[in-house]
Amino acid sequence: MSSQPVVSVRTYALVFASLLFLTALTTTVAFVDLGKGMHEMAALTIAVCKAVLVILYFMHVRYSDRLTWVFVGAGFFWLLILIGGTMDDVLTRPQLSPSTASVPAQAYPR
């Protein structure tokens, strides 16, 4: 947007450093036992933080108009609809996974 201010090099450098730090963090945390189901949560949380930093500062969304925010949000929100609807089915099925269902693997020759 030409009406946006020019973002300073210092801001970019701070974001850059934060991104590298968060990368190191997510890698380190992966090797530590956090308890059941927490790894996915931790990894996704850190990834989301990194993505938000890139979007707000590198992609200038912090300084953009509301219409831009709507389209940024819409993309991710729609993805959540896809994941949510599919996982609703997957999580409420009676069997644990397709491969524990009754048909043996030999029934499908590869």
């Binding site: 990368t23 997510t26 850190i46 953009s64 940024v72 729609w78 993805l79 599919t86 997957v90 491969s99």
Partner: protein, 215 residues
């Protein structure tokens, strides 16, 4: 006609409208890309839920060091891309070209490391298909994991290659003096694209390389 006016296309009232339209258009396109990659992420989450043990075991066969280095390389390239846009905004042609070149070099470095990784996976018989070999009880879901690994990183690599092509075109235009503080829309839009490709990798790295590393 001012220098900026020369870039106004005939169907727009003024340069401001043209710039706003281009900016919005790029974001709409990026929303489509979110849904495009998102389809693969949705499938990934389903199978990770069902086959966590196999996914963890398969993920441990990926090289965390190379993956981590590649992540850092891409983050650096986003930084240089942001600096390129900054140079265009402040009408400094030589730094603009330098940062675009640096971004390309980092992108090529990423691709080089990636293809080296693909090569080692091939040697280790981890490419899905008839040559796939894995520990027997987890082999079948592990093959699904590697199908995702190749499909998702492969599609990401295709987008990187396109991005490098766009950056190259930008360098040619910049050298001819096409960009100024008032008009540098192609640089901005390519920047948005490049940052988006970086964001995809920001999610791919932990979801592919860091599953079950604590085991």
């Amino acid at each position: 006609m001012s220098k900026v006016e020369a870039f106004r296309q005939h169907h727009f009232e003024d340069v401001e409208q043209q710039h706003e339209a281009s900016w919005l258009g790029m974001w709409v396109f990026l929303a489509t890309e979110v849904m495009f990659f998102g389809g693969m992420f949705a499938c990934y989450f389903v199978y990770r839920h069902w086959y966590l043990q196999a996914f963890a075991s398969a993920s441990n066969h990926l090289d965390v060091l190379l993956g981590g280095i590649n992540t850092a390389v891409l983050i650096c390239s986003s930084f240089t891309m942001a600096l390129a846009v900054h140079s265009a905004e402040t009408a400094r042609r030589k730094p603009l070209i330098a940062f675009l070149l640096l971004t390309i070099v980092l992108g090529l470095l990423f691709l080089g490391i990636k293809f080296y990784e693909y090569h080692t996976k091939f040697e280790e018989h981890l490419v899905p298909g008839s040559s796939f070999r894995f520990e027997a009880s987890l082999a079948r879901p592990a093959e699904i994991f590697f199908s995702f690994y190749f499909a998702m990183t492969g599609m990401h690599a295709v987008h990187m290659i396109i991005g490098i092509g766009l950056l190259t075109a930008l360098i040619f235009k910049a050298r001819r003096g096409r960009f100024s503080a008032a008009y540098h829309t192609p640089v901005e839009l390519t920047g948005l694209y490049w940052h988006f490709v970086d964001i995809v990798w920001i999610f791919l790295f932990p979801l592919l390389y860091l599953v079950g590393r604590h085991l």
